[in-house]
């Protein structure tokens, strides 16, 4: 959010006023408005003041423009005024059709506006940094045998430093270390209530120079330079210090890589939600690098830092890339040569990170550019569907205006003038709908946010681009939707229409047919799409994981209050205490739990192979009971036994990747894992540790009976409350001073499909809207055709036709069109669906149901829509209808 905008009146309203109000009067108006605004701001708050500012400004605008407008009695003004009056009368007189026309179009525009806001939000990520175009995130691709092995965003901690030393184009660099394995316990020593925190970043002191997160308190240039300094967000400040001034106070950080007391040196304003970096605490990098493992390293061994650089404006990225290669060769070339690996550095602009990242283990908040495209297309489709309604209704009902056209023509109107008249009418209706749609979105956005768990606000109204787009859209839409009806209406032959208005009635039916087919087609594709998205999510959720995630409660492990000596006895005490309850059938400690990631990613190869034949594998530490609690299937071998220090369990994928032959052969073979030699004691069936969207990777469990990052507790769900309170008691008894946090593993696991589900929810909402619009149109069209054929119906009825026959007769032509649309939809759905499913490793098949169910749904809705009208038409008494003719 831009600052300083808070207390000024809406600039847009001022700008608007300046365009329409006479310059000599402007000064006093704006002065008055500002004076009133300030007064209201004090009395009733910002929202009221802003709102009334708009009301006043618009009232002035309308009042003044029309004031002058109506006073000017020259010919064109009178004419345009007349057009507007006729348009308004027409809307008023045909309330039913006007309502349908306006409602359909307004709903369509609202959907479009929501999509625009959604896209605007997705594209706005990280744009609030002033230097956004010159900041890059480094990526590292490891290349072997001229083949890219893996690309990710993790660099060593020396890379940034060395690059800055030797590459002049780099103005600044900042390294970020994400705290990957859970978080830390933080407490204010004065009131000593500990909280578990996981939004912690270690950053260089340049962090606030590169990124523009505004500081609320503290000195921008000097924060984070010292050891054990921290910057916190204002929310965190309130949480720990209440209203007191946090600057200079201390927070205890425990169970982190770096334990100790951190001094608060700065408070940041709330982090904008459209930032790919989200955090509550920034800890100084100096504190982390003082850690034993980094102090005693060359700086190239640990790849768990994300490096951002800000470069000179004219920097050539290709040259920069070569210079990075040079730096890496100079400092780390020997090491890489041993494994035959090359590291290439890539650069990702800051604004690309949110939407265009596709890296393994990316810690940023990632969206999808594909979703943005998909929804843009849906938005356009919805709008087209709505405009088609307008075209269809205007032409179908053209006969009602025929007499007006005839008379206008006979008293001297040119065709051109009539076209202008109908275009103005179209513009008039479009404008009404546009105003309505803004109101609708304003009111329904909170509901949408609720349904799809987004946090959208209607901020686009404050951007000039939006108003430009909006005006263009309305103008184009009015012309596109109005031009055909305008031509049809203006081409009536005056003699023909005044004399008897029966001709031309069905003349343009072919175009209408085409447009209806298009509407149905779009609806059918959207319904199939929705169905497919949910089908895929269900498919992924129901996928056999090979690992049990049900009925497992995970408790985050203790972070404070133990040391190397007493940890074992404490763990044992906790496990014994927990399992003593009848509802609990297993307890196990591990370094990670499914869906949470990995402890370690290492280069692994079979003993006896060459070092450069390594494969990347993922390792987690688990204790003895893990395989049993999680129901992992052994192909061969045995679970861990006590004192299995250097032994591992591997999965089938590892057997294949490391070239161990059959599972039986693999048993007791030795592997070199990141330099250590370990023995295989068992082979597990493949399982999905993370979402099935992830690629299958070699996966190893290493034995560690002291691991306690998470406790997984298997329980029956007969009395959850009691079980949980039992666990909490045990936990507090043994690990007092740690906050007790827990979650159910299956919920957590399914969270991984949240983004797919959200996509599906948004998709279904817009599908729903488009269907509503299409069927509103169908309903109106059927009404028109039933009304215009009422005489025919009556005569048929007199001659003995049954109600059902008549209904079939009236619905037949529309159902035929629907059938055509459904058939046309099949190849489109097959093609688009296949393309979309390519994104997933495990994908559902596009079955018959995806094609058939939407078709039936459409068929059903259209029969329901049509039958009401046709029924009442067919039911009407012939006497009543025939007598009036």
């Amino acid at each position: 959010m831009p600052e300083g905008k808070k207390s000024t009146p809406p600039l847009l309203a001022n700008w608007l006023a300046s365009k329409f109000i006479n310059e000599s009067l402007l000064e006093e108006f704006l002065g008055d408005l500002k004076e009133l605004y300030d007064e209201r701001l004090v009395k009733r708050g910002r929202f009221y003041a802003k709102w009334m500012f708009w009301v006043d400004a618009l009232y002035l605008l309308i009042g003044f423009t029309s004031f002058h407008f109506f006073r000017a009695n020259n010919n064109p003004t009178i004419l345009y005024k007349h057009y507007l009056i006729v348009a308004a009368r027409n809307i008023y007189r045909n309330k039913f059709f006007s309502l349908i026309n306006i409602a359909g179009l307004a709903v369509g525009m609202s959907a479009c506006l929501m999509i625009y806001q959604y896209i605007h939000f997705e594209l706005s990520y990280d744009k609030f940094h002033s230097n956004v175009d010159n900041i890059y995130r480094l990526t590292q691709s490891s290349i072997r045998n001229s083949e890219v092995n893996a690309t990710d965003v993790f660099t060593s901690h020396a890379l940034g430093v060395r690059a800055k030393e030797s590459i002049p184009e780099i103005n600044r660099f900042v390294r970020i270390h994400y705290h990957e394995d859970g978080g830390a316990v933080i407490a204010n020593p004065d009131n000593d209530e500990p909280f578990e925190e996981d939004q912690i970043l270690f950053v260089d002191s340049t962090f606030l120079d590169v990124f523009d997160f505004p500081l609320k308190m503290g000195n921008r240039t000097s924060v984070l330079s010292g050891k054990h300094h921290m910057v916190i967000t204002e929310q965190a400040a309130t949480k720990y210090f209440g209203t007191a001034d946090p600057i200079g106070k201390t927070l205890e950080v425990r169970g982190n890589w770096v334990d100790g007391d951190f001094k608060v040196v700065g408070v940041l304003k709330a982090i904008p939600i459209n930032s790919h970096l989200q955090f509550d605490f920034l800890l100084s990098m100096a504190s982390l690098l003082d850690n034993y493992q980094y102090r005693n390293s060359t700086g190239w061994g640990w790849s768990n830092f994300v490096t951002y650089i800000s470069v000179a404006k004219d920097a050539d990225l290709n040259v920069l890339g070569e210079k990075f290669d040079q730096v890496i060769t100079t400092y780390n070339g020997e090491n890489l040569a041993r494994t035959d690996t090359e590291i290439r550095t890539g650069f990702q602009t800051l604004s690309d990170i949110h939407l265009r990242s596709n890296f393994d283990r990316d810690p940023a908040i990632i969206g999808s550019i594909q979703d943005v495209y998909t929804f843009s297309i849906i938005g356009v489709f919805i709008l087209i569907i709505a405009w088609i309604n307008y075209i269809n209704l205007s032409t179908a009902r053209s006969i009602n205006r025929a007499r007006e056209v005839g008379i206008r023509k006979s008293i001297g109107a040119f065709k051109k003038e009539l076209i202008v008249q109908f275009l103005i009418e179209s513009l008039f209706i479009n404008l009404i709908c546009a105003c309505l749609s803004i109101a609708i979105v304003f009111l329904t956005l909170p509901i949408l946010n609720n349904l799809v768990s987004t946090e959208l606000e209607l901020v686009v109204l404050e951007t000039i681009q939006f108003w430009i787009w909006f005006s263009i859209l309305i103008l184009c839409g009015s012309v596109l939707a109005g031009i055909y009806p305008a031509f049809v209406l203006s081409s009536f032959n005056p003699l023909g229409v005044i004399d008897s208005f029966k001709k031309n009635q069905r003349g343009n039916f072919n175009l209408r047919k085409g447009l209806i087919v298009f509407q149905f087609l779009a609806s059918a594709i959207l319904i199939s799409g929705t169905y497919l998205v949910y089908d895929q999510v269900t498919f992924m959720k129901n996928q056999e994981l090979g690992i049990n995630t049900e009925h497992i409660l995970v408790v985050t492990g203790p972070r404070v209050g133990f040391n190397n000596e007493n940890i074992e006895s404490k763990l044992q005490a906790f496990k014994n205490s927990v399992i003593s309850h009848h509802s609990i059938s297993g307890v196990t400690g591990s370094g990670m739990v499914p869906s949470k990631g990995f402890n370690w990613q290492a280069e692994i190869y079979k003993m006896g192979d060459l070092e450069n034949e390594y494969e990347i594998g993922k390792i987690n530490w688990v204790d003895l009971d893990f395989t049993e609690t999680y129901n992992l299937q052994f192909l061969t071998g045995r679970p861990f036994k006590p004192n299995d220090r250097l032994d591992v369990l591997i999965d089938e994928e590892s057997v294949r990747s490391f070239g161990l032959g059959t599972p039986e052969n693999a048993l007791n073979q030795k592997l070199i894992v990141g330099g250590d030699t370990v023995a295989v004691v068992g082979v597990l069936k493949n399982f999905h540790w993370n979402s099935v969207k992830d690629q299958q990777m070699p996966f190893l469990f290493a034995s560690d009976d002291k691991c306690s990052a998470y406790f997984s507790i298997k329980l029956d769900l007969s009395n959850i409350q009691e079980s949980i309170s039992h666990i909490e008691n045990s936990y507090n008894e043994v690990f007092g001073g740690n906050p007790f946090n827990y979650f159910f593993l299956d919920d957590e696991f399914n969270q991984q499909y949240q983004s797919d589900l959200q996509f599906g929810n948004l998709f279904s909402i817009f599908t729903f809207l488009s269907i509503i619009i299409a069927f509103i149109g169908l309903f109106a069209l059927v009404s028109v055709s039933a009304a215009s054929r009422i005489k025919e119906i009556s005569i048929r009825k007199v001659l003995g036709a049954r109600v059902t026959d008549l209904m079939v007769m009236l619905s037949k032509e529309y159902l035929k069109l629907l059938l055509i649309a459904v058939i046309l939809a099949i190849p489109a759905v097959l093609y688009l669906g296949k393309a979309w499913l390519e994104n997933y490793t495990y994908r559902t098949t596009i079955g018959f149901d995806v094609l058939i169910i939407p078709a039936f749904a459409l068929m059903l809705i259209s029969i329901l829509t049509v039958s009401h009208r046709t029924y009442s038409a067919a039911k009407s008494s012939p006497i009543n209808t025939l007598r009036t003719q």
Partner: protein, 109 residues
């Protein structure tokens, strides 16, 4: 065709300008009218009326006044003209005459 008579709201605005004695501008007039009539009025309505009255020659105006808290903008101050005053008197006279014709209000005796 233009009639010289004024409407009820115009009369209220005109009276407010008289009360304010040269200090009448958009907001002060709005406040004055709101104070006496007890209803809330949009700023734009006041402005439009002021201009209409000026066009009818019942008001005259000049730019002036302090510039603080208005974002450095001047305000337009209105004053009643001769004919404005006459118009008010005329309106008042009409009412007065009609009031006196209401039988119940005649002093009984």
């Amino acid at each position: 065709m233009k009639s010289k008579s004024i409407g009820e709201f115009e009369e209220l605005v005109l009276l407010a300008v008289c009360i304010l004695e040269g200090e009448g501008y958009g907001i002060s007039v709005k406040r004055e009218v709101e104070k006496h009539s007890g209803r809330s009025i949009l700023l734009g309505a006041v402005h439009i009326t002021l201009y209409r009255l000026q066009d009818k020659g019942l008001l005259q105006s000049e730019m002036g006044g302090n510039t603080e808290k208005r974002g450095d903008r001047r305000k337009r101050l209105f004053k009643v003209t001769e004919s404005g005053m006459r118009q008010l008197h005329a309106a008042q006279d009409v009412r007065q005459k009609m009031w006196q014709l209401i039988p119940q209000l005649k002093p009984s005796l």
